[in-house]
Assembly symmetry: C2
Homo-oligomer: 490 residues x 2
């Protein structure tokens, strides 16, 4: 804790990596590319889970659980409509270890335990779930199926970064089945809107919502809706996706239903997900040079009270003094931690809670008892003020709302200030170099998109929905239906 955090100005990437560890969010494990999510980081993830889970349930979804492993042949069935699917994955080939006769104490794979068919650790679960839905769906009466799963998935990534890109990560994946295209499309949009509202109102992060271009879309999808957020360094981060899968998976796995007239048709599908990557968005949206800054709705504890004492007697007096406040805070549904550890000094604790981004810190020492005061500190603005004891609860209550709102306002401002419109390719290049979103006309072809990416490292983050605004492509001059959002991205 004595180590100083690198400033964002100095090295943003280093700042991020240090902060994840110093704020006790996560760390690299002894398994390549896999992280350990530490209790404080996991408590934030649990808040994300609880809120999303209740929103999914409110909109008619149920949770279920499907196998970790996907037989290789199911990927082959899917491969027909998803040629671009990544093949970097964890492959289970054997089911037994045995003692190594030549090296006592060592273990080797038992070659007699080779599997007839390799099993893949799920990178995503469309294949195994649609193989299962095949048995569940016969008639329109069996539809819709609106399921979600909270699970771990594995994608073999060569270059990993905590939360942003790890071999194993945690996520939720929704997989729905519908009788009509219209219903499936409505579901896809319902979810992207749910995600956008959640990320803005709960995480305090402003997002753009739109469609992916052909080349950025999920391989098995006909349309991919996404939400995109803008990090402090001007790079975009995809925060969630909702895919309209058409009848692709139903065709790959032969899933048909009989409608009311007995006519058979393939089932329509969606899938959608957000992951522990949201933790990265959180850090890079609100964090500052002092550490993490948490919106109160995500904070494992919203208030921390630090007593400043030299003796057990002083601690007892302070505890008696603040107990009614602690009770009042809890009774009103807020969370508060009273840190009466005697093996750490107040300065150490102050620093710890700044790095951990606790929204409100209350300090209380012997002088406060005499003066009937408390010192209240708000983490987002690093402001502190001394208040009369009787004023403190109202201030806490105000700050919990105000910090939440202020963080979203600041995030919106950041996005607005860093979203520019380019009228020429030269201007575009400079704007991309400066960072942020750049709105520009594009001719709709993958070739032009690829050229832009090669020239500038920028990709199309999203295509606005229902915003017709004809113009000319900044690169080719061909006609364009609307301006699209470009940025460099995580």
């Amino acid at each position: 804790m004595s180590k100083k955090l690198t400033s964002r100005q100095e090295n943003y990437s280093k700042w991020y990596n240090e902060l994840v560890v110093m704020a006790d969010l996560a760390e690299n494990s002894s398994v390549r590319g896999c992280m350990v999510i530490k209790p404080y980081g996991y408590a934030i993830w649990e808040k994300i889970q609880q809120e999303l889970d209740s929103k999914f349930k409110e909109t008619g979804h149920y949770n279920a659980y499907f196998p970790l492993f996907v037989p290789k042949s199911l990927f082959e069935a899917e491969e027909k409509n998803a040629e671009g699917f990544a093949k970097e994955c964890a492959v289970v080939t054997h089911y037994r270890l045995k003692n190594d006769k030549e090296n006592p104490g060592k273990l080797v794979v038992d070659e007699n335990s080779k599997l007839e068919e390799e099993l893949i650790v799920r990178p995503t679960s469309e294949a195994i779930i649609w193989r299962t839905y095949k048995n569940w769906i016969q008639s329109y009466r069996d539809l819709p199926i609106l399921l979600n799963q909270w699970a771990n998935v594995v994608r073999w990534e060569m270059r990993t970064r905590l939360f942003l890109r790890t071999a194993e990560f945690l996520w939720q994946e929704g997989h729905t089945a519908h009788a009509t295209k219209k219903e499936a499309l409505a579901e896809t949009k319902l979810i992207i809107d749910l995600y956008a509202k959640f990320v803005e109102n709960f995480m305090g992060i402003s997002v753009l919502s739109g469609l992916k271009s052909d080349s950025e879309r999920f391989a098995g999808a006909e349309e991919t809706y996404c939400i995109e957020s803008l990090m402090q360094d001007g790079k975009a981060l995809q925060a969630g996706t909702s895919h309209f899968l058409g009848q692709n998976f139903a065709k790959a796995f032969d899933v048909k239903f009989a409608d009311k007239d007995g006519k058979l048709d393939h089932v329509w599908a969606t899938s959608w997900g957000v992951s522990t990557r949201l933790m990265g968005a959180l850090i890079m949206s609100h964090g500052d040079d002092h550490g993490l800054v948490l919106p109160p709705k995500l904070a494992p504890y919203q208030v921390v009270i630090v007593p400043i004492f030299k003796s057990d007697k002083e601690l007892t007096e302070i505890s008696e003094y603040v107990n009614p406040l602690i009770e009042q805070i809890r009774k009103n549904g807020y969370t508060v931690k009273y840190d009466n550890r005697s093996n750490h000094k107040p300065g150490y604790k102050f620093n710890e809670y700044e790095i951990k981004g606790v929204p409100i810190r209350i300090a209380v020492g012997p002088r406060d008892l005499q003066n009937k005061t408390l010192e209240v500190f708000r983490r987002d603005k690093m402001h502190k003020k001394v208040l009369k004891f009787g004023e403190v609860f109202e201030e806490v209550s105000f700050l919990i709302d105000d910090i939440q709102n202020e963080l979203l306002r600041a995030s919106k401002r950041h996005m607005d200030d860093n979203t520019k419109v380019a009228s020429s390719y030269a201007e575009f290049k400079q704007m991309i170099e400066d960072g942020g979103f750049v709105l520009a006309h594009w001719d709709g072809t993958s070739e032009t998109e690829e050229k832009i990416k090669k020239d500038t490292k920028a990709t199309i983050r999203c295509i606005p929905i229902n915003k017709k605004e004809p113009g000319k492509c900044m690169v080719t001059g061909a006609s364009s239906e609307c301006k699209v959002f470009f940025a460099r991205s995580y």
Copy 2:
């Protein structure tokens, strides 16, 4: 749903297998030994999770998340103190698939992607967690560490049964680190008591609590505490375990701490877990020939209301009639489902909710509107009675407590009635043949235990704690400290 459930008398094992599927709890997947947990089954598991999770947190534990994979070398480190550790596990050897050039559309393992060191899908996480704790623990100030993880684990089982024994299953695993043996022992006992209370008061299942014998103990443990329940067919089922690990894992992974005087010592450890196996215990404790019977605290919905109608108009009238009741039930914190589906007949619905074990069913038809009545059915006793509308909420409220209590009472009675004391080995053999727990004197040796198992298929389920009652072993006549519980088991 038209298929009739096999009776328990006819074939208990078949009854179980059919019920799991017919009650929509789970089914086998296309991956050998891995199950799909269906929404209704998963909703019950979520109730189990929520209650346990809150109990863990109330007792000072935090959740965290550790990697799915364990490098082979970590098992080798552990192997030194756990020679008996099972080696049947899923082994990841490669990280890429590629297109099969000789068979278009097929995928093969890319031999160039062989891992330098094989990764094992965690069968349990002591190894990876203690490897991590090594970096977290330097001084007594870092202790205790009280962590829990909700996770999937994989053990390669040859013969699997839904919930009872599956290759992949869901569980929670607690892993704690302490400065003293005394503290670690207290933690081990705290948890086994927490488990026992949870299984009795929340799941309505009576349990025995005690110690495992040497041969039944977890390989890395010095003492294993367990809770054992008795299924309807007279076989025991281990419902949870809490291990005192001594300094075994600290020694295997070289985890030491400095005490207040700077003296170095190895850290003391515990680990503990319950799994989706509890779902099996639930089914085989309360289920009957009509299907599942759920204790109200575990029911995804405690009350179901089935309107009996022939027209939309009748449905509207019924809905208006029962809406105030639905509101009252919800307002009081109970859960209720109103099943107004028009594509299924009431008889179909009655059958469905009986099989799914919904504690209370309320039926309402046009005649009830005239008579200002409702028909209330309690699933556990299959009793129904017609009540005046105004009496129904009170009845519901009564039944939710009464069914919960009655199920536990019945479970206790079943265990009491089927726990016998054997005074000779001949008597013991007959009692084991009859089913249930048999208390008998045993000389404390693994040899005698093995002989009993060979003769009768019964194992020592648990050794009572602090119950000294000297006697003579029923097999060898050697001295015995106390009677122990034997049974055949799942």
